[in-house]
């Protein structure tokens, strides 16, 4: 189910000078099976764009087409269409409200009209995907650690079985262990067939798991391509105030020093490239 964004613009409070988080003429398509990383610094419009993908915000110009249908169109079932795109907000642990983790995860699918055994299956399937200890299911979400609460919130969105999952900085504020675990869960969801849009500041993660990268700069789509294509334009990224993964930085430094290595996204890849360039036999 591709999401096609057609010449979309958004202006907050049109007519006032406050336009910092607006979007201008965004035009690209999120294809089935993508793990699209959306990068850009704070205020570049990433979160605004994310909220357009499931109709929480309505574009001031242009359209968002989900499966060929305008999600803000008059003749379509907007509610149903929007629910095919799940959205997890930043610091999502603060949206939990139910007495038990089970009930909280059930909130979304219940709103979709599910009940009984069907609902139960949904909740348990979503809970399994976020790898929490089984006894947490009947606990109060407020007894859990911050990282665990965030995973419950993710399960709450996954339980609605969206075809596209939009995640707004899902690892922000977590400790290294929490970051790794959640990144792995996202990776697994993607492998399980969910299209993912990931807003992230962590370039090393983006380089490792994304299939495509879109760079936003002051509300405009500045670049779109594979991680390798995008990160090979390191100078431009740095000019926008964005980080470049350390592996790429090293590749550039090595080439500047006369050692020809291609741009590499992971440590393993880079190790092979250095060994090859140095003439070290592979798998010594």
């Amino acid at each position: 189910m591709p999401i096609k964004i057609e010449h979309m613009s958004h202006t907050y409070q049109p007519g006032t000078p406050f336009k910092s988080d607006a979007l201008e003429d965004i035009d690209f398509t999120i294809e089935d099976g993508d793990l699209l990383a959306l990068i850009g610094h704070t205020g570049s419009g990433k979160s605004t764009l994310a909220q357009h993908l499931n109709g929480l915000l309505t574009p001031t110009a242009g359209r968002v087409l989900v499966d060929g249908q305008d999600i803000n169109g008059k003749d379509v079932n907007r509610r149903a269409l929007r629910q095919r795109v799940g959205l997890l907000f930043q610091y999502a642990e603060y949206q939990l409200f139910e007495e038990t983790v089970y009930k909280d995860i059930a909130f979304g699918p219940k709103n979709q009209g599910l009940s009984g055994e069907k609902l139960d299956r949904r909740v348990r399937a979503a809970f399994d995907k976020v790898h929490l200890p089984p006894e947490t299911l009947e606990k109060s979400p407020f007894e859990l650690s911050g990282g665990q609460m965030r995973r419950v919130a993710l399960a709450g969105v996954v339980a609605m079985e969206p075809e596209v999952l939009v995640l707004d900085e899902p690892i922000a504020g977590l400790d290294p262990k929490g970051r790794d675990e959640l990144t792995e869960i996202i990776h697994e969801l993607h492998r399980g067939g969910v299209t993912i849009v990931l807003i992230s500041h962590n370039m090393d993660d983006v380089a490792r798991i994304a299939t495509k990268v879109a760079v936003l700069e002051r509300g405009r789509l500045a670049m779109l391509g594979t991680p390798r294509e995008i990160f090979s334009r390191g100078d431009e990224l740095e000019a926008m105030g964005l980080d470049v993964p350390q592996t790429i930085q090293l590749c550039r430094a090595l080439r500047a020093g006369g050692l020809e290595v291609p741009d590499c996204l992971t440590g393993e890849e880079l190790c092979e490239a250095i060994c090859a360039a140095k003439g070290v036999p592979s798998h010594a």
């Binding site: 959205l87 949206q95 979709q112």
Partner: protein, 264 residues
Amino acid sequence: MLKDITLGQYYPVESFVHSLDPRAKIVLTIVFMVAVFLGSSLFAAIPIVLFILLTARLANLPIKMLLKGIKPLRIILIFTFVLNLFFTAGDTILVEWWKIRITREGLMSAVRFSLRLVFLVTGASVLTLTTQPVALTDGLERLLSPLAKIGFPAHELAMMMSIALRFIPTLLEEADKIMKAQMARGADFESGNLIQRAKAMVPLLVPLFVSAFRRAGDLAMAMEARCYHGGRGRTRLRILKLGKNDLLAALGTCALVAAVILIG
């Protein structure tokens, strides 16, 4: 959505009224309100209107800003007017039609009460439009401090007000975010009857309260870490000093009271 609500709308310009001591402004606003109640004849409204116009001029406030303050009141205003118009007993009948009877006394009291309401709200808005919230809480604390001797929590009350002012924008933003997050999970805040709507608020209110408590805990800890230990031995950044202008303002307000009493 929720972010559009503006609170404590301070109008940031420089003026005679802006420069007054907040304590003077609070007291004079109260005196003004008393004056509004002293006048019983309609003619008493004349000096009051003049006083308001003069104050607005001295405060560099466009009249539009004052009218904006009255706008949210229009329902109550109409209600007050209609209630007084039809339910005040009187002898001089102006209009009589079927069971409805409008008397001269009714009309007078309708106009009087509506005007009073408008004047009171205008007086309060001049105060908040020309005084920074921080100065307002400071002034209030200083005014109430004599009561602290008999155990009235003047400092605590002012501290609570200033913390509330600090956190209103933060919590509004948060409420907006939680609402959107629940809407993304299919929550519906906009349709259904009253009970359904009230029930729909639970997923918004529970996280909002949990968050407010968490913030309160964090803030208490941060305040303690910065040596906060109540009002005792505390000095203040803002030194409040009554000056010549405050005296002028006080005289002006006294003149208003005198005029209202004379007219009756």
